[in-house]
Symmetry: C2
Subunit: 229 residues, 2 copies
DNA sequence: GCTCCGTCGAGAGCGGTGCTCTCGTTCGAG
DNA sequence: CTCGAACGAGAGCACCGCTCTCGACGGAGC
């Protein structure tokens, strides 16, 4: 059981992280100032270092929280009872909505790695949640026999174990060719969201909502999820 | 004709930009210090402000140079005599090679936008070069009759004029459905490169070279460019 | 109940940053 | 030849991440 001291410490740690998250949402990761966070909380800047050893550790906390928030949004948008193609587009739309609602947090997660570019292992589980949701859609479609027949199997040395486990989990209807297309679609989802958010689609796309819906439908088709009917 | 003073000014401006580019390649955009650039050139930091009004203007110069360098690499990799599908994968591979050779510059171009920075119009022409190369591949394929027949035409309000002009230039074999797929493939190219460079594929992909080649072939198929044969 | 000792907050300080201002100097156009 | 514009250098401002020290508090052990 946590002592009273540990409890108030955890509380203050969360309070600092929350203030930092507000700062992040306002000015972005590059301009996030540990001193400003301390000012907002009415404490000396040196006191913050009792709770986060460095600014990067504070950012790491925000990264994990961001991945978790995005992952929760993706999971909440997935209705396992819906047709797979619709599940796919719904989850993708949820990712886009979250990114548009939290642009600076999205940039922190999927933009340029910040300083020394060493992603701690702690972030991996949280970062995997969106991929797991999309992988479950693919796996459920395979189990329901809704995926085109293939007979490719594994291609040694091409993909990692994590991809195999998440994407279909070894169902025979999901071979490495399908997994490659799923990874491409997954990358394309975030590539599309990043391009929209970072302004690379300005001039090329007018109706961003309609374009995104069309794009995600194309990607669903790429991985073999045809619209119901 | 440029006076001697203008010439030495342009020379020094280029020298500053070059030193900044070296700094960028070493420590990344976030850690690029105007003072360090001045030190490397043996001048006072305040003197640099005679040539670049602010650090962001210096970064803008590096962004334009980066887009131009990447665009030149993409153009050099395109052999108009080759089959369209092969041209597509060659250009994509050139983009990936450039990104791996210049990771920090790539992150500056396609990662998170810098804090207070809104892309000046100056960057647009340079930034368009890769898209123009890929669009030319698509247009040439259409003119050669190598694209599947479609009859969709325009979908009002969906895409911008820039996309129409670059992608096929109004050839009847390229309708908005094809253009959407081309934009998706374009976004997926940079999504894939970003994921690889930023570490999001760690654990999922083992042989990055082979995976990228497979991924780009899938994308070529998505836009209708089938391998020769 | 009292005494330690670990934890805590605060402040000063270090070296760094972007940027501004002022000061002499230098150069070139008129 | 003159005079104003451009230039380089330096000092200085406000801010940053981070470290160190110092006094105060509070819970655990005697």
């Amino acid at each position: 059981m946590p002592t009273a001291r540990e409890r108030v410490r955890a509380e203050l740690t969360a309070e600092i992280a929350e203030a930092a998250r507000r700062q992040l949402a306002e000015v972005g990761a590059a301009a996030l100032s540990l001193r400003a966070v301390a000012r907002e909380l009415g404490m000396a800047s040196s006191a913050v270092y009792r709770y986060f050893p460095s600014r990067d550790d504070l950012l790491t906390r925000l990264i994990i929280d961001g991945y978790d928030d995005l992952g929760a949004a993706a999971e909440a948008a997935d209705d396992p009872a819906a047709p797979p193609a619709q599940r796919w587009t719904s989850v993708c739309a949820a990712v886009r909505d979250w990114a548009r609602a939290h642009p600076h947090e999205y940039a922190l997660l999927y933009g340029s790695p910040v300083p020394g570019y060493t992603a701690p292992r702690d972030t991996v589980p949280a970062a995997s949640r969106v991929g797991i949701v999309l992988g479950a859609v693919l796996g459920d479609a395979a189990r329901a026999g809704l995926l085109p027949e293939t007979a490719g199997g594994r291609e040694p040395g091409l993909l990692g174990d994590a991809a195999v486990e998440v994407l279909g989990g070894g169902h025979p209807a999901v071979d490495d060719a399908v997994r490659v297309r799923a990874l491409v679609a997954w990358s394309a989802l975030f590539g599309t969201v990043s391009f929209e958010l970072f302004g690379h689609l300005v001039g090329s796309v007018e109706d961003a909502d309609r374009y995104f819906d069309r794009a995600m439908t194309e990607l669903a088709g790429l991985v073999g999820l045809r619209p119901a009917g």
